[in-house]
């Protein structure tokens, strides 16, 4: 019986984490990508309405009066882009990040992100690098078959047989009902919520697994790209076969999301508009709005062409060790922290 004060991860997995971080550092060292360190505590944070930051206050020593809010970062994206805009060139960081309320089999409120940016690259070049890094990290532990590079549209067409960009709202709702997911969402919600529902319940479980030449089902690295423009977040948008899409990608292995990347938006006005829209959604949802990160917004105007990606280290360790629960790869998960 393991007691509450004891480590939740086995020492094999604690060692696997150390080995993996060492391999990652050596990979970036060999590729001349600089390791950087940016603040965990910051005066602003991401306004995305579906990401909640931990909030805290700073008190000067001689006062007991509370001052402004500070936030624990949910990703080091904003300060890393400020470094890129200052002329750093390609950079990476391994940092602890924090997300309010995210706890479960695949979530811990505090987790480790590997985030890196490649100056002068687009998302296609970065997807190739993600695939090659993950392949070298994973292949000693699991038997991977060939990677997939498919668009968001192709995945919906292949698995659900419709085009997610052009489907009418009423047809989309029919697909949701046919998947047994009626009554989950209110009928007046944004179409992206219905796409997200079908994506997380029907599509995601089938990404990152495929049958090999002998018909055996094996895991693979699946890079899914070109999301709906309305899900662009911090990515550029572009026309792709006549359809406006977000140059954003996600990585899946064994039906689990491992990371998210962008061909980074460097249009400061567009970035401010998206943040304003995020805060509007927050207001409608009845949750707190986030002050604009003016340092970041100014830096976006000087951001060089680049692509960036964040990979969840615990998810990666779960895949390597075939663990079912994130607590198996954390020395002291949230419940024991």
């Amino acid at each position: 019986m393991i007691k509450h004060w004891q480590a939740s991860a086995s020492f094999d997995l604690i060692k696997l984490r150390a080995d993996t971080l060492r391999k990652i550092r050596s990979f970036f060292d060999n590729n001349n990508v600089l390791e950087v360190d940016t603040p965990t505590l910051s005066c602003s944070t991401v306004p995305d309405p579906f990401i909640e930051s931990f909030r805290t206050q700073y008190f000067p020593l001689t006062q007991t009066m509370q001052t402004d809010n500070y936030y624990l970062h949910t990703s080091p994206e904003f300060p890393m882009k400020r470094l890129l805009a200052s002329g750093s060139g390609s950079i990476y960081q391994i940092s602890k990040v924090f997300r309010q309320g995210e706890s479960g089999r695949k979530h811990n409120p505090e987790f480790t992100l590997l985030e890196w940016y490649r100056e002068g690259w687009d998302h296609h070049q970065l997807m190739e690098e993600v695939s090659s890094l993950l392949n070298s990290l994973l292949s000693p532990y699991i038997d991977l078959t060939e990677p997939d590079f498919i668009t968001y549209e192709e995945a919906f067409k292949k698995i659900l047989n419709f085009n997610p960009h052009t489907i009418s709202r009423s047809d989309l709702l029919d697909y949701v009902n046919n998947a047994g997911l009626s009554n989950v969402l209110n009928h007046d919600e944004h179409r992206d919520r219905f796409l997200e529902l079908l994506f997380s319940h029907v599509i995601e479980p089938r990404l990152g697994v495929k049958s090999d030449d002998n018909g055996n089902i094996r895991p693979n690295i699946c890079l899914l790209y070109n999301y709906p423009a309305s899900q662009a977040s911090l990515a550029k948008t572009a026309l792709y076969h006549g359809q406006l899409v977000a140059e954003r990608f996600e990585v899946f292995i064994n039906g689990m999301e491992i990371g998210n990347g962008f061909h980074e938006l460097n249009d400061a006005r567009e970035q401010r508009n998206r943040f304003t829209a995020d805060n509007c959604s927050r207001k409608q949802m009845g949750i707190k709005q986030i002050p604009m990160d003016e340092n970041f917004l100014q830096a976006v105007a000087s951001l060089p062409e680049c692509a960036g990606v964040a990979i969840g280290i615990e998810r990666l360790l779960m895949v390597m060790s075939q663990s079912d629960h994130i607590n198996d790869v954390l020395a002291f998960p949230f419940e024991r922290a």
């Binding site: 995305d48 579906f50 089999r105 047994g180």
Partner: protein, 189 residues
């Protein structure tokens, strides 16, 4: 009316779903890096025993079911209903066929059972894990065969039929595991 938010979901929590009391077996948070979070739960309908999956948008609330487990003593069956008594308050309660279900095969007068109550009424009955029951009918025992190899059916006083070793005879008391419906040993008294 009591309710639970999806962030309180955990296995064992009792909820009202489509008018029936249900128990959560598994709760999985489905939260993409970007986008709406959902709670995907596997639930057992406590009336029908059926297991189904449901998805809720994270942050929603679901009505709680007033369901609790109590230890009651089984008294007797009047042909239609099974009667139970609380060992301290002596309060009596009757359960119908749907609530008792397969437990009727193992209910012996005076045994303690776990009775699940919904709004104060019996919803399900769980017999003890082990019961001692007398053999009322079986083929004649083979003298000298104590190997336990092979077996034969034996009918017990409650009507349950279990596979027993060849040496077991009518009138013997047997210990049976109600979770598997299997013979464990002769009862030692």
């Amino acid at each position: 009316m009591a309710s639970y938010n999806t962030n309180e979901f955990r296995s064992g929590l009792k909820l009202m779903i489509d008018g029936d009391p249900c128990s959560i077996l598994e709760n999985e948070v489905v939260k993409p890096g970007k986008g709406q979070a959902f709670n995907r739960v596997k639930i057992r309908n406590l009336k029908t025993g059926r297991v189904v999956e449901r998805t809720y948008k994270s942050g929603e609330s679901v009505e709680a079911a007033d369901v609790m487990d109590t230890e009651l003593q089984y008294l007797y069956n009047d042909g239609e209903q099974w009667h139970f008594m609380h060992p301290e308050t002596f309060e009596q309660m009757a359960a119908d066929k749907t609530a008792v279900g397969d437990a009727n095969l193992w209910l012996k007068e005076q045994d303690m059972c776990t009775v699940t109550l919904w709004n104060g009424n019996p919803l399900a009955v769980m017999p003890p894990n082990f019961v001692v029951l007398t053999v009322t009918d079986t083929d004649p025992g083979l003298k000298g065969d104590t190997s336990g190899g092979g077996g034969k059916p034996a009918t017990l006083e409650t009507g349950a039929v279990v596979q027993v070793p060849l040496f077991i005879a009518i009138g013997e008391a047997l210990k049976v595991d109600t979770r598997t419906g299997k013979y464990v040993s002769r009862a030692k008294d």
